[in-house]
């Protein structure tokens, strides 16, 4: 992301902001509520067009009208939204299977493999059988969050974006999400960008971080009052 600017009406969200995450690395962006972390994530993922500046993923520019072009070039995105993002008229299994079905020819998978892969992704995030056949509206917030994670991981993404991945989750669910995040952090094929304002997650991940303030990114300085991550996690 190079020299990107973005405004919501009169509010400056990103002000000539640049960010480079090397391939296979993970980067954390923190910031106060409404500081523009989600917008930064969407712009970086090529889902929202910036007013100025340039944004590429693996050297490729995203086409807002044709996201599948990026997929065909081998850029597989995964984005876990803060809230929403799942099709409300499809059950959890169908939601996870839809992108697999849409890209079946690119991924080279059969109809049976689509089902198997969708179920495996849902199993990985701990969804029960009854939850798999429920509409997103009938699932709790935490389960919906895990469902969003399952849809993203089913595609084996090589660019992963997490928007407040563990906010509003109970301890067990947060642990599942954090464990998955750590696995992607250690995967040299996956480039990750995490937006959060939870120190506990930043400490657990232990990766370089930036703070978004007034539309600009600053290198993150950990507050002295925060105890070490091991204590916090305990």
């Amino acid at each position: 992301m190079r020299s990107v600017s973005f405004r919501h009406g009169e509010t400056i969200v990103l002000d000539n902001t640049s960010l480079h995450v090397p391939k296979g690395a993970m980067c954390v962006v923190t910031g106060a509520n409404a500081s523009g972390k989600s917008t930064l994530l969407y712009v970086s993922a090529g889902l929202v067009k910036p007013e100025s500046g340039d944004c590429t993923l693996g050297g490729h520019r995203a086409n807002l009208n044709r996201p599948s072009e990026l997929f065909r070039k081998g850029i597989r995105l995964g984005l876990v939204f803060q809230e929403g993002g799942m099709l409300s008229n499809m059950n959890a299994l169908a939601n996870v299977a839809l992108p697999l079905r849409y890209h079946a020819d690119v991924l080279g998978i059969s109809v049976r493999e689509i089902e198997q892969r969708a179920r495996a992704a849902l199993d990985r995030v701990g969804l029960t059988r009854s939850e798999m056949y429920s509409l997103p509206a009938h699932l709790s917030f935490g389960v919906r969050k895990r469902l969003a994670l399952a849809r993203a991981i089913a595609l084996n993404p090589n660019f992963f974006f997490f928007d407040d991945p563990d906010v509003g989750l109970d301890q067990d669910t947060a642990a599942i999400v954090q464990e998955i995040l750590c696995r992607y952090r250690d995967d040299p094929e996956v480039t990750c960008l995490v937006a959060t304002n939870r120190d506990i997650l930043v400490d657990r991940l232990g990766v370089p971080g930036y703070t978004l303030q007034n539309g600009r990114l600053y290198e993150r300085v950990r507050p002295r009052s925060v105890p070490p991550s091991s204590q916090r996690l305990a």
């Binding site: 996201p67 995105l77 099709l87 839809l98 890209h103 020819d105 690119v106 993203a152």
Partner: protein, 279 residues
Amino acid sequence: MFPKAPAEEEKEPSLASRLGSRMFERQQDMARLFGTLIGAMSSIFSPGDAARTVSVRVAIRQIFFTGVQALPLVGVIAVFVGATTVIQVQLMAAALPTDFLGRILVAIILRELAPFATAVVVAGRSGTAMATELGNMKANSEILGLASVGIDPLRFIVFPRIVGTVVSVLALTVYFGAMALLASYALSQMMGSSSFSALSGAFSDALVPEDLALFLIKGTGLGTMVGWLCCHYGLEVQTSPTEVPQMASHAVVMTLVACVIFNTVVTAGFYWIVGPPVH
């Protein structure tokens, strides 16, 4: 006490600058409007057999919701429209020959009311549903969610809906015409004004080969407008669910206006080519 300094008055933008910015906004709106149609239609040429299969399934479902489920409503409207037309014509021109009634029914029912009334029913029934559905999807970040996993919103959402409304309007126009003519046959028989054979002969005499082209142009054009405009205005919702009903009503109003203008232009062009229906 010092006298207060006069407060600096905020300068109002001049009329020219307001007009300029309004024109710029309209130009942007039109670019987005036609961008939706061009983007959706050009997705036919996008690669991806699997994506095509998924889009075809969505289109078939749309044809079921828009076409099949509207059959009873369109049937009832067609019967009453056919009956009303026969009553009006019989009362006003009882002394006129049967072929005149046939010509009027072809001109009014088959060429005008069948495609237009069908488009109005589809816009009112399915257009509002599409605009509301897409508006809610936009407000709930579902569209963004689709894009995030590499699914093209125009190909997966808009194109199948346009195809669905075009196929449905074409099929429902035929159904409307058939039902209205049946009702007019039946009513004219009951009124004892003309025989079945005389009326059917008058119908076939009144029809010209160009009527097929008129049917295809009107059906395809009106169907495209309903699908395109309702999807576009649905997708114009930004983030708030309160925008959804506003956009849905705006979508239907704009669709109806566009359909009336399109229908008039095509009818004028048709009679310019084939000549007046009654000499």
